[in-house]
Symmetry: C2
Subunit: 371 residues, 2 copies
């Protein structure tokens, strides 16, 4: 089930079977100056059906939006064996409920996706990256706001790292940063259709944030090897954490106003019970990766973290799982991110479509609500 | 119920009650250099709750995508009186089914939307428009493809008119076009964050399409009064039709490969039974507005048009209602755009959420399926 069914080169609408590998689709599209609207670290092995079932986010979400907007159609097999063909290639279709949306992010608990129709944007012709050093997390937010104003439509990623993340990749992976040490770092990527215009915009941003004192230092790179080096500081954080011994990992969404406070509170709470409390993530998407390391797993440390972290996120109306879904391990925590009436409505939908509970059982919804 | 609840100026996430007028929201946002991700002719009177309930499209869809991607949260009152609070302000939240999607475009048949959380992009700093004359509809598609390549991220609208549409506004409204007569016209709008860059890109596009022979003539305007004049050629088509007497109106989505053939087939079929068969629309969204005029309503003409038009659209897997929904008049035609298994699943969802059928009754789904 890894066949491409059709590509409309003019509209950029691709239809393919669900077993197609994400990277293979992107390679195929590059022949037509198009690109996939999502990109993940796992692109070499993940399949588009799984991407849709888990509502995968990734680093292009800031630019192209979520799969709920980019997926135009799905073919799905229901638990009763019936095939629901909503595999249209239309950008606009207001004829009844948008059923395909139910299956995006349902983690396979409502049906099995067998084919996908997806809108693919033009491939960017140029990419540039800036790395900026900032004094406070509030400055990071100011730089984000300035980036949206100065870069507008070409802003394609806005990531942050705290100083502990930078120390982590320097110590554990011997990576080098082009900047001296700062409390916070912003990685700003822009990609567009005109290299000259894009560099000019990024340069204006750099001057503006330095003039306004939002950033203390910064550099711009346009060479692809240097871009890769800067991205590796951010992307290899996850790998660097493992060198510390054990890692407690959390992937949460928070309103930007509360974003970094969770990290400070966790650091206070854990004190010497953690080797590091490290934070990085997609500021542009409100998605924080919070990681706590220790020499080995400790029940004491774990009990200090959970359920504290879920309760903290719930208090600020965040999400306890921004990208990774609930699956088996987090399904009993759903009430921290969803109200009882919402969970009850989910259960009603599940019972309507899968009354015998045979689709990916024991996942997403709490056991009690399904009885 | 017309209060703004919150605005996060950094992320651009607006939360408001459902009775807010679209234009009022846009004015409010302009104070913060933000804009609404949708725009319609009816913006001065339509309410955001209705926009979401009908999944309104409009002229910014090409640029910012659909409400399924931009609406981040909803508060909805269910038929049993329960309030489902999914009013989060998060771009990423993979905790269970994305319930809000069910209510987007459901035309009020599943619940009543009382509040909306929506992602608002930065306000463009510059707008430019090109009007191009083309020999064939195929050239229009070539110009669309070139526009995506040359304008990339700043392309904000791509509309087409056929010669009959241009004759219509000239004859019935005495409007002037800056170009001499051509069989087809493309209206290309770009909006971005840097006027100088944007004009340079639009100029490159104009040179390229003229050099390649995709367009025969063209002009670029950047002055807001002139932009308005060019837009009025396209936007006032609907008004101009009324001067002919009676108008049979269709709003369909079609794959671009079949887009204009429907117009040619209809013109052949109707012959002298119609005064005009006029076509214009959003090529960028695959959305065709097909209009047929006659001195007065004629049953003969009507019977030649329907159900022929719906069957034609179904044959090419189009949508019989791109933007306007099914409502009361088109609900019995849903099978032309949706398969029986999809309609059955819609009915199952409707019966689960609204077992008594009290929410906006007699709309969207055919009577027979709800029994």
């Amino acid at each position: 089930m890894n066949q491409i069914i059709s590509l409309d080169q003019v509209s950029g609408i691709l239809v393919c079977q669900s077993g197609c590998i994400l990277e293979a689709l992107d390679h195929y599209l590059s022949n037509y100056e198009l690109t996939m609207p999502l990109d993940l670290g796992a692109k070499g092995s993940c399949q588009i059906g799984g991407n849709v079932s888990t509502n995968a986010g990734g680093i292009r979400l800031l630019r192209y939006g979520s799969l709920h907007g980019n997926v135009l159609g799905l073919e799905v097999v229901l638990p009763n064996g019936e095939i629901v063909d909503c595999l249209t290639t239309l950008r606009k279709d207001n004829t009844g409920y948008d059923l395909k949306q139910l299956f995006i992010g349902a983690e396979g608990t409502l049906g099995i996706i067998t084919a996908v129709s997806i809108l693919c944007p033009p491939q960017p012709k140029s990419v540039s990256v800036a790395l900026l050093g900032c004094e406070t997390f509030d400055s990071i937010l100011q730089v984000f706001k300035s980036s949206k104003l100065y870069l507008g439509e070409i802003l394609s990623a806005f990531e942050f790292m705290d100083s502990q993340s930078m120390i982590l990749v320097k110590e554990n992976l011997k990576l080098n940063s082009p900047l001296v040490d700062y409390p916070f770092y912003a990685l700003v990527e822009c990609s567009g259709s005109n290299a000259h215009h894009d560099e000019e915009k990024l340069m204006s941003l750099l001057h503006a944030v330095l003039d306004k004192g939002e950033a203390l230092d910064g550099c711009i790179v346009t060479d692809s090897a240097k871009i890769k080096n800067i991205w590796s500081l951010r992307e290899r954080c996850a790998e660097a954490l493992m060198y510390d011994g054990y890692c407690y990992k959390y992937d949460v969404s928070l309103p930007l106003s509360a974003f970094y406070q969770l990290v400070l509170d966790m650091r206070d709470r854990l004190g010497a019970n953690a080797t590091r409390v490290v934070a990085y993530g997609h500021v542009g998407d409100g998605n924080l990766h919070l990681n706590i390391t220790s020499r080995q797993y400790s029940k004491t440390t774990f009990d200090l973290i959970e359920p504290f972290v879920f309760e903290w996120v719930a208090k600020y109306r965040g999400s306890i799982s921004a990208e990774h879904g609930l699956g088996l391990k987090k399904r009993e925590y759903i009430h921290h991110s969803k109200t009882p009436s919402a969970v009850a409505l989910m259960a009603a939908v599940k019972k309507t479509i899968d009354p015998k509970g045979i689709m990916n059982p024991y996942k997403v919804l709490p056991e009690s609500i399904l009885r």
